[in-house]
């Protein structure tokens, strides 16, 4: 029920007691506004670096960023998202993020003005389901399988499963796929029969689910224990072999900026390059550049 107000006269007609709740309301509103305007001021004292890009380099960049924040005593903060190498390139070219994570070499179709800083190397392993104890594949065998020439496991010596080969690949915009094609397939295309997963995680899940599956992953994922990492040309796909240079299928992770890196992003990238702590992090599961 509405209280009907009677506006007779000026201040004399108003009851002073009704002003108190209004004054309280005004005071609390002013306080909230002051605090609210102070928060961005506090936040801007720390600089924010936004990163987006490859799913393959995300675990490494996450570890590096975590360590860097601790060393800088929380004066810098990171916002890292994934989406794929091509998203990293597009986002940094459009100015949406400060740094792009890219897991492939620069392509001629990339937007102009981007600078690629290599931060680590990683190996690409061919992987099969755990029940398939395939130990090694030659270059010719890998090409025959992934281009769809050989369709049966019975055509591959060393395979412990039978039936048709299920090729699991990545969507065409993935950086790891671009490197896989240039390192293993001599730039031939993967067969149209292949299932195209949008991320490393989903590719790993599919290979784990399907006994007859074969795919490819960065060494960080391949060593996680859920899949069988297959040797290439007689060399096992392990971190030791990749670091020593024996394993040939090695590619680079890049941090990409629009123009030369500046400000907080430049300090972060040069820290990765020069610091011993960063070097140790990279060497733990990847190969230092």
């Amino acid at each position: 029920m509405h209280r009907i107000r009677r506006f007779e006269g000026g201040a004399a007609g108003r009851r002073p007691a009704s002003r108190a709740p209004r004054l309280r309301f005004a005071a609390s509103l002013a306080a909230v506004t002051l605090i609210g305007s102070a928060v961005p001021a506090i936040a801007s004292a720390t600089s924010v670096i936004t990163i987006s890009g490859a799913t393959a380099s995300y675990p490494l960049v996450q570890l590096l960023a975590h360590k860097y924040v601790k060393l800088e005593h929380n004066k810098v903060s990171f916002r890292i998202s994934q989406g794929g190498a091509q998203i990293g390139v597009n986002d940094v070219a459009a100015g949406r993020v400060t740094i792009g994570d890219v897991s492939r070499d620069p392509l001629p179709t990339d937007p102009p003005g981007l600078v690629f800083y290599p931060i680590a190397k990683y190996a690409i392993c061919v992987v099969t389901n755990k029940s398939n104890h395939l130990a090694n594949l030659s270059e010719a065998q890998v090409q025959a399988i992934f281009t769809g020439k050989d369709r049966e496991w019975s055509q591959i010596s060393g395979a412990s499963v039978s039936g048709p080969i299920d090729i699991i690949s990545r969507t065409s915009t993935a950086g790891v796929l671009t490197n896989f094609k240039s390192l293993f397939l001599a730039n031939k295309s993967v067969s149209k029969l292949a299932a195209e997963e949008p991320s490393e995680g989903l590719l790993e899940q599919q290979v784990e689910n399907t006994p007859g599956a074969i795919g490819f992953l960065s060494n960080y994922r391949a060593d996680s224990g859920g899949v069988n990492a297959v040797g290439y040309n007689g060399v096992g796909c392990t971190l030791a072999n990749a670091s020593s240079g024996q394993y040939s299928a090695v590619a680079r992770f890049y941090e990409v900026t629009k123009g030369k890196a500046s400000g907080a992003a430049a300090k972060f990238i040069s820290w990765i390059d020069s610091s011993r702590v960063a070097h140790k992090i990279v060497a733990s599961q990847w190969i230092p550049v």
Partner: protein, 327 residues
């Protein structure tokens, strides 16, 4: 402050609410215009044969990726029938399965269940209707896809199709089952609401004429709620058309048109829909202009199909006006 507490005049309320609804309309129109402008290049190059079959869609999309800013006209060549067909197939099958399931569920909950069961079931149905679709996707990829791949697909089927398509378990049947499970609770909730709105006098009249319960339900109640069933179907179909993430996870991610001539293997064949293609290639947005335009064309087609759905729903409800219980 006191001005806001006074009751608003009718005129002011009318203006403000009118402005709000015009704003909504303007946002929808702006969205359609935004998508249409960006989708135009691919339709300019392909015309209506954009929807036709022809060649390998996977190959056409892959060749778009290497084209840069000045894409030649040949870069825009695309024949997107596999994904249009995939969308129609998945949505059609899911709605065809969900409709009878939902109506029978709703009839049980409202007409036949004891009051205690009814109270619990209504809450369970509403809860199911609000489960995020990515949860269904996780369920699919962790439970259903391995089960179908390892126990339902026979090696004879795999071998006979090994040069045409891979049968890994992720495919049509898992996508349709999950989509049906996703849209049925919405339809059940809406149909239950409609059933409870049927006047008791109509049911009592049927009973007075000596009609048994089930026949009364069929002849009186179900006929009365036909407009509500149509509305629920339209809503559920729109949700099914737009489902992207879940389909992308469980449908096999291959540009392939499942062939009914393959017999039972038809159910296990992988496919892609318009929405799941946008999700799978979202990295290409803002990159190669040919791919950008093709993805926006998929989005425009989805918007258009939802519009067609609403119009179809309206046209179906038109002759049912004389049985109108609720709009």
């Amino acid at each position: 402050m006191s001005r806001l507490r006074k009751p608003w005049s009718d005129r002011r309320a009318e203006l403000v609410l009118g402005a709000a609804s015009l704003l909504t309309g303007a946002i929808v129109l702006g969205m359609v215009a935004f998508v249409a402008v960006r989708a135009w290049p691919t339709f300019a190059h392909n015309g209506l044969s954009w929807l036709a079959p022809g060649g390998s869609l996977g190959g056409q999309i892959e060749s778009m990726l290497s084209t840069a800013t000045n894409a030649p006209a040949s870069a825009y060549h695309v024949r997107a029938w596999p994904i249009v067909y995939g969308t129609l197939l998945i949505t059609g099958l899911a709605v065809a399965l969900a409709l009878p399931l939902a109506v029978l569920c709703a009839v049980f909950i409202v007409e036949l269940a004891p009051a205690r069961v009814r109270r619990v079931m209504i809450r369970v149905v509403r809860l199911l209707a609000s489960v995020p679709s990515v949860i269904w996707g996780l369920l699919g990829i962790l439970v259903l896809v391995p089960y179908v791949g390892n126990h339902l697909v026979t090696s004879a089927e795999r071998t006979s199709l090994q040069n045409t398509v891979q049968l890994t378990g992720a495919g049509l049947v898992v996508a349709v089952v999950l989509l049906t499970l996703m849209i049925t609770p919405i339809m059940v909730a809406l149909t239950c609401d409609a059933l409870t709105a049927v006047p008791a006098a109509w049911r009592e009249g049927a009973a007075a004429l000596g009609v048994n319960r089930l026949r009364a339900i069929r002849a009186v109640t179900l006929r009365a709620i036909r407009p509500a069933i149509v509305a629920a179907t339209v809503l559920a179909t729109a949700r099914a058309l737009g489902e992207a993430i879940m389909i992308s996870m469980v449908s096999g991610s291959v540009f392939f048109s499942p062939r009914p001539s393959d017999g039972v293997a038809f159910l296990f064949e992988p496919l892609r829909t318009l929405a799941s293609t946008i999700v799978d290639f979202r990295e290409g947005l803002g990159g190669a202009p040919a791919l950008n335009s093709t993805l926006y064309a998929c989005a425009l087609l989805l918007l258009f199909s939802v519009f067609v759905l609403s119009v179809a729903g309206y046209l179906v409800k038109l002759p049912l006006r004389k049985y109108q219980v609720r709009g």
